[in-house]
Subunit: 432 residues, 4 copies
Amino acid sequence: MTGSFVKELTPLLLEWRRSLHKLPELGFLEYITTYRVGRLLEEMGFTLHIGKDALNEDSRLGLPDNQFIEEKERQASEWGVENEWLEKMRGGNTGIVAIWDTGKPGDHVAFRFDIDALPIKESTGDSHFPSTNGFVSGENNVMHSCGHDGHTAIGLGVAKFILSNSDSLKGKFTLLFQPAEEGGRGARALRDKGWLDDVDYFYSGHIGIHSLPVGTIAASTEGFLASVKYDVTFKGISSHAGMHPEKGRNALLAAATAATNLYAIPRHHDGITRVNVGRLIAGSGRNIIPEDSYMEIEVRGETQEIGDYMAIHATRIIKAAAEMHDVSFVIKPAGITEVLVCDEELIPKIQEWCSTSEFVKEVLPSVTVAGSEDASLLMNRVQERGGKATYILFGTKLNHPHHHPEFDFEEEVLPVAVDAFISIIKGGSSND
Amino acid sequence: MTGSFVKELTPLLLEWRRSLHKLPELGFLEYITTYRVGRLLEEMGFTLHIGKDALNEDSRLGLPDNQFIEEKERQASEWGVENEWLEKMRGGNTGIVAIWDTGKPGDHVAFRFDIDALPIKESTGDSHFPSTNGFVSGENNVMHSCGHDGHTAIGLGVAKFILSNSDSLKGKFTLLFQPAEEGGRGARALRDKGWLDDVDYFYSGHIGIHSLPVGTIAASTEGFLASVKYDVTFKGISSHAGMHPEKGRNALLAAATAATNLYAIPRHHDGITRVNVGRLIAGSGRNIIPEDSYMEIEVRGETQEIGDYMAIHATRIIKAAAEMHDVSFVIKPAGITEVLVCDEELIPKIQEWCSTSEFVKEVLPSVTVAGSEDASLLMNRVQERGGKATYILFGTKLNHPHHHPEFDFEEEVLPVAVDAFISIIKGGSSND
Amino acid sequence: MTGSFVKELTPLLLEWRRSLHKLPELGFLEYITTYRVGRLLEEMGFTLHIGKDALNEDSRLGLPDNQFIEEKERQASEWGVENEWLEKMRGGNTGIVAIWDTGKPGDHVAFRFDIDALPIKESTGDSHFPSTNGFVSGENNVMHSCGHDGHTAIGLGVAKFILSNSDSLKGKFTLLFQPAEEGGRGARALRDKGWLDDVDYFYSGHIGIHSLPVGTIAASTEGFLASVKYDVTFKGISSHAGMHPEKGRNALLAAATAATNLYAIPRHHDGITRVNVGRLIAGSGRNIIPEDSYMEIEVRGETQEIGDYMAIHATRIIKAAAEMHDVSFVIKPAGITEVLVCDEELIPKIQEWCSTSEFVKEVLPSVTVAGSEDASLLMNRVQERGGKATYILFGTKLNHPHHHPEFDFEEEVLPVAVDAFISIIKGGSSND
Amino acid sequence: MTGSFVKELTPLLLEWRRSLHKLPELGFLEYITTYRVGRLLEEMGFTLHIGKDALNEDSRLGLPDNQFIEEKERQASEWGVENEWLEKMRGGNTGIVAIWDTGKPGDHVAFRFDIDALPIKESTGDSHFPSTNGFVSGENNVMHSCGHDGHTAIGLGVAKFILSNSDSLKGKFTLLFQPAEEGGRGARALRDKGWLDDVDYFYSGHIGIHSLPVGTIAASTEGFLASVKYDVTFKGISSHAGMHPEKGRNALLAAATAATNLYAIPRHHDGITRVNVGRLIAGSGRNIIPEDSYMEIEVRGETQEIGDYMAIHATRIIKAAAEMHDVSFVIKPAGITEVLVCDEELIPKIQEWCSTSEFVKEVLPSVTVAGSEDASLLMNRVQERGGKATYILFGTKLNHPHHHPEFDFEEEVLPVAVDAFISIIKGGSSND
């Protein structure tokens, strides 16, 4: 029965996914995405909390600059986002929280779907499926290369199921369509709005990561890294590079020295470390000693302690790089993710609930990953309040890693994921 | 007599300078500046060669990218540049050559005035004269901080003199209003159009450089450095920085390593060396191994040999930095200046001709500078063809060095410079 | 019974350990250590293979330079090493293999004990037990700070047991007292001599690493890293640094650039990476552009693939650093360790055999470490030939990590380790 | 007459020079050189001040370490330096001051000859004259590659002239045979002993530097750079590089980062800058995070201000490099030279006095150099006290620059230099 629901839904899942893929938006700029998703949920009859009603504004991290925000709002308006919606999102307050209360006593179950894209120029090559099938990104230098287009489509599928089966369900369902997952910037703003405070069960997940076959899922994940992200600016003094090099204070060299040395933070006995300088922008003209530079960096650690260790080293290195080139500096936190521990008791339940799925063929208890996820902030809040949470992986073959210009997943994973969540909803419901 | 002409002209010189200062344009984007200057010269009756008629297109170096060019053309059109003019300049072909032929036998005398501004954010502070006097730059991040607004005004003053005294003059006058002097990008395109091939005397010059008092000029300069400018791109492979750092090829680290090591090119026994990485842009997102990076660099040397030495080292270092981080690279020449040697025999002549000037109080034979000038390409061409050339400095107190956000000069230098050029024209004319 | 043997042996174990500790010798220079150990084994009646008879000379890696070898041979001679012994070891051929054949059919069991020390200046502080108890290193800048003095003493204890219980034992025992374990330099030379080719069971192990309590051992270890070590030389051109910097080719800067960038080899998704530039020596005089530089480096990986990945990156970086500073380079392999996998079937056996030990209180199945061990080469050879092998950890509290100037272990671990090996010998013997 | 004296002396000059060349000694270790020179001066009847009587001990900079000093003293003793002499020099107090007082009123004229060699391995190639003529350095890695062997021989020749012509001379002559010129370490100790305080005329000089032809000299030099030399130590924490990289504090990386960034101190508008990291020694073993590192650096500037600018930058960079890698540091001054200005009035005098020389064919007024010279400290003291001083260059063709393993000069320069000094002595004497 479920099977046939999902089977029928599948063409729609693909349509949603592809149409989202064509119009990717960066974190806190998902104006059109929020609007499209929101309009569909509105039609389904969900109670909506849009933009500023969904987020705690001050908890957002790593906001784009105002000029860029305004430009995107203008484009969203031109695209057709209604003014009423735009007002609720204005100033980088994107994302939406959709609630369905069955009115019957039962658990409060929450799902998180992330909706943002990445600043990557999508491949238009012949070996890239979205390119050859007409749904490649229409935005220059922005791409859904982490599968959040799929996540969003899955969320809409789950919504559709809740709507269609409202009578047989009980309790309350909260669907969080989260902005700005990349960089660990958005979850904090959802968390601080209180959505997780009385949640009994929390589920989120990801397409891919491991190249498991379609049909295989993992009921939990281990290994998500704690991470901290910083925006770093160095301020020096410009000078004519030919005439008065000695009067300059070189902010570019400070950044270059910091970058090189950041990667040399010693590895750690207790577990994984990561460091990345993802962007570096410095200088204004060829023959001017660079007065300004800007870096976007992140560090990660397998444990909270290692995360802190990395952050302490990074901060010191940046300070020393500034001193080395006699410039000043500012370090601004721009994102954060935490270590997460899935509740083990959910594993056998998920395995049982999915055992009759026509789409889910195998449920691994757990797999290990090495990225970072700001769902961790949501999960940790749920668990602090006594709820249970897990993070599920949905298998698909990957020809290219996440964040690659040719990243793509097998679309057959979409019905699998929807059916897994449906199985969980039904299993959880019947379980009570 | 001259004195009273220049005295009357002075308010106009200031008006021109200030109005140019308010609307600074970067090299090869001087659409409005060219138009304004051109319209004035047209009114005076000069024969004009605009844009593509002034430049050898293929000889331009370091062109802005097309998107930027088109944006500026749109803005110029909105500002009011006539379409006929815009067509002649389209595609970054700015600048104008104005010719006045007296019809009488005599020398062909050429003057070069550079018209471009710099990518520097002008100070709006209380101690900055253009700011407190209402003519601060209206363009964000663009500024006349090298005095080319003054140079352009001087050129217009010289034109006005030629017009007013046409009857008493003989020979031919060519006024080159050159785009893109910064970065050594524009002179080659003028030279290769042939304007210098039959010039007997060539004069150019600069306001400031040394903090000589207003009224003091130097009849020649020594020490301009040979320079080469490069645009460098590194191309790596992006990857998720947390999950698959080992799959990335880091173009940002290649650029940072290149930058650091470029400054370590050994100093040279035979003379001055300079190196600058003026801009560095790398990466697309915080959690993505940077796939692309871009640098604007320049190297200089006191002699052509040292210039070559610097260029060879720079090229090798960039190549090695690419190899170090396993990325590919492209080095594109983006500008060139040569060593220049002023003709000594012009010095006593200039001293004599200016001896009766009411504005020029003292003529130093020569001063030493340490910048680079692409007038060198023009002067070297003139001298190769048997003409004479010199580069004059016009004294003004400077509170801040060239290319500084508070760079400014004493406007009293403008009539001094115009009167010096007038004295040269008159002296040269009577001399024959 | 065993208990009382070991109890009686304990004072001797401590005496051996302390006397070895006072006279530490670096890898391939363990002339006195080999002699002292050898003389004791000779007295016990073992068949000895000394120095060149123990090693395959050409398989040694990272030999000290000849001058240093000769100096140490001279010192060994002065100390009292007999000439006959010295001849067998001449040229850095230290170490000894001691064989006891019971003459009765049975397994061939081999043990490896490493005997070399480290180039670390031992603490003479009040909180350092060897210092306050009169057995601190008498060699300047050489120290047993990895516990090999203990390992050697344990080996002598095991030998003593074999001698004392020869009648009740069967099969054949080979005790490998290996030189130059630090740096992965010595095991290959033992392996290539063929000692492991017909071994049925192989045991080695380490004191400490984890701060397990004395009495606790681990029957196997996981996590030893594959590693490659290189000696790197850069050759440039010297020049007067004040007069002709441009004529130099700076080998010091090549090494510094290589060092900085080696630490930036990207971390790896599949497991642990390590890199270290342990030594850097460059230049000859302050005012001379450095003509020569030398680095000792190592890279490690959790799998053989990661080890190879690190080696490939390291090699490329060194090459690029040479090119960056226009110098030549030579990379010489100086050591190697492999990934090792203990045979799981030995774990329950060791747990059983040790269950009646008075010294071994608890046997953990396995612990994870992150160093490198060239016993891996010996174990892998045994396993290739069908034998079984494991690497045991012997617990002791550690106040300072291995290779620290105040490294020390609790001497109570020595009888525990001896009794564990005795239990294994007896258990294995009775098992057949 | 002079001509024939010098002609006869020439074979002896060559013999002295070659025998000194065979036995080069580093700064403050010139035990044998001092002894040999001293014994010859003693035979000539000069009043000698040896070692501690010549130097102000506490003013010496950059002393070798004690162990090295003691080893060299042992070797000097074995070579045959008498114990009485050795006692006077013990502890790195080499050099000698020889005084000849004619007893007649007249000027006090001082000459400085430097006697130290460099840590460079001399070429033994077929194209190297000392090698093919049997007087190549007998000391491994030490070489007279700056011509101080020649300077010392010239000094002995001057002494011989004074002795032979004592009757016809008047006033007082002080010959300073200075240790440790390289690195600017010795002159301060001579100066602070007071030898220059009442000197009327001071002469020193150098063979080569410019490739002037033999027979050409320059009566003065310009351009010697102010310089400061530092010994830098970084102190971190060692740790096992495989097991606990995070517990280390890497002193090697601090040094490498400092080295790379030191070369990037911005060039200076006002004149020449130089920087060199001449030596870098770091780390103790391959698999140990380096706890210690040591650098010998120097910076130079064309003016005292630029020298100070370089020193301030260098000091800050070293501090920042330490902070970057969380290690401590010590910066110890190890040498100093000053800017020197030759007295112009000596130029025509020297030209006149040498005009009748058979050896000196041409006297250039002045040449420009770019090295550093601690004779500057002596000259500046003389000039402060009202005396006159100059620094003379003696032409010789150079196939290789100073400090090169194949540095050599034409020996014909030796009689030229002696005859120049003799002409000065005679001219100055007669002048009064």
